[in-house]
Symmetry: C2
Subunit: 351 residues, 2 copies
């Protein structure tokens, strides 16, 4: 039933490019054989690796030779100035030109965001694009946005993020009517910032949208899984994401210390190894890879810079899901509904 | 060397009051015998419990009979209207009157904050009080503020929080020159909100203060322990704190599932029990109890509502430490230094 999708891949981005990128393509093709890859990077080098190590992917790949590379320490402004002919920029450019349905890169986030915005521009009716990513939770997986594209957000931005996040949950998590919570410091109606309360008023009335607005959610809701989509301004979202990641590291360290503490606990570890590795797998960022910039005239997926082959394959599958379901179009339709609504007119008239 | 401290205790606040409160007093007296307790609550009931279950504390307690109680669901506005004669309010009132050096309550946070502000008022040179609490980290313990007293904060507020948090770290954690980080979305100078960048400029120049300003810290720094004091606006701080707490719960749940998954992992659990309980102890909120409202003309310590006896005893010891070291005075002195400084004048002149 699924149609063939062309994915533009930045082969030179990420800590272990291009090896991990090629391995990820090989792994993804086992799951989704009907994708075609435009491979942006050093053609000679890439061809050599593909021929010797990943001959199976050869027939699904078209090489797009590029010389420039955006480095992991380039600032967004430097990428915009010097990176226009980089593998990253040209992969995004191919989405704009309609040659690929989506671009995937494991390169520098700030540069990818800046180049994506510059090349693809923001969708009509979207004021600001947002960075959206899947998160592991007690119940499975949720998505959260904005994770750092926008430091300050107004009510309109938050409503648009709710629509975009719900489209992600529908296309990538396969939910028909995802639940949405607004990140706040309390669950009562009067809590928090004006912008959040206003966004809640709009979302409460927007019953025609394919999402179930559930009100406010506190920080502990980020990993509890009580909502499928968590919406926040980019400052708070970024801090919450990194706090959760840091806390996972913190407890992993404590666990490691605990298990190496005594002979008894070392024996315990041997018995528990299977159980612990299930836990590690559930928390492994490679299994929740595929952040995306939503709200642009075209799709760009960001893989973790340190992702392994499995992680990069995950990012490719997220990209394919979104392109298959034409997420940009879904968002556009939902936006039209909300833009025509009376509720948003009320909020706008207050400005 | 330590002097006798009088602590006003709200015996009626918290999930298991007054039992846990009395148990906490008994445990604290084993560590710090030279405290005297003003015990606010139902005198008849309290006397009966003390006589039958905690006779050892009798000589350190003076009963202060009160009838009204602030409930866990009372809103701050309700507490201000109806709760002026409650055990909580009268305990705070005794600090204002100079009868006690500090008040401790495990009751409703919003009500405690509102009553504390109303009764004690803000210190000279402090624009807004902040909620500060200890957090477990990889290296031990840090403190973080503001955890929710102020939704939006300007540069001045953040500088004042840095001074107040550093005074907490000096008196309660026993550090002579605590390191301070400002919570942000990146560590580079140009990142984040204007208010945070301005606060960083002031703190960078304030080398005469008894703190070591280390720049910006991202969300993963909340539990890494790289800074002794983490400073943030109350919205972000509250979300970060609750995200960390939620993530601890999330991983505990995964661990529980992992260990009950198979016979093998159950055996593993038996061997690892000691190690796991060390870990639980390190994360147990009872061992990091004693949030405090800093910046008021008097000290108020908030115990977790669900704290056990050990937790409440910890809150009493934090209260005693702060009173012994006269933290309010320390903050006042540091504030005078910064208020006289040229850097703050520059920030103020920009407004």
């Amino acid at each position: 039933m699924s149609k063939s999708i062309t994915i533009a891949v930045d082969a030179m981005g990420g800590d272990n490019a291009p090896d991990i990128v090629l391995e990820g393509i090989a792994l993804a093709l086992e799951q989704i054989p009907n994708i075609h890859i435009l491979l942006f990077g050093d053609e000679k080098k890439l061809k050599k690796s593909v021929t010797s190590e990943y001959p199976s992917i050869e027939k699904n790949v078209t090489y797009k030779h590029t010389v420039d590379v955006v480095s992991s320490i380039d600032k967004p402004s430097q990428a915009l100035r010097k990176g226009r002919k980089s593998s990253m920029a040209l992969a995004i450019q191919s989405v704009k030109a309609g040659e690929a349905a989506v671009a995937v890169s494991a390169g520098n986030t700030g540069a990818l965001m800046a180049l994506s915005k510059f090349i693809l521009r923001t969708m009509p009716n979207i004021d600001r694009p947002a960075l959206c990513a899947p998160m592991p939770t007690i119940r499975g997986e949720s998505v959260m946005l904005d994770l750092g594209a926008n430091i300050e957000c107004d009510a309109n931005n938050l409503v648009q993020f709710a629509i975009m996040g719900s489209a992600y949950a529908r296309t990538v998590l396969g939910l028909s009517n995802p639940s949405v919570g607004l990140l706040n410091v309390g669950v009562e109606d009067l809590k928090g910032k004006e912008s959040i309360r206003e966004a809640a008023e709009v979302l409460k009335e927007a019953t025609h949208l394919p999402l179930k607005f559930g009100g406010f959610v506190e920080g502990d809701g980020v990993t509890s899984g009580e909502f499928d989509v968590i919406v926040s301004d980019g400052f708070t979202g970024n801090v919450a994401l990194k706090t959760a990641e840091g806390t996972v590291k913190f407890i992993s360290q404590l666990l490691k210390n605990a298990f190496s503490n005594s002979i008894l606990s070392k024996i315990g570890y041997i018995f528990s190894k299977g159980a612990i590795s299930n836990l590690k797998e559930h928390l492994d960022p490679n299994h929740h890879n595929g952040a995306v910039f939503l709200g642009l005239n075209g799709l760009v997926v960001k893989s973790h810079g340190g992702a392994n082959g499995v992680g990069f394959a995950n990012a490719l599958m997220v990209a394919s899901d979104m392109a298959q379901n034409d997420i940009t179009n879904l968002i556009g339709n939902d936006l039209n509904e909300i833009t025509d609504s009376e509720e948003l007119a009320i909020v706008n008239s207050l400005k």
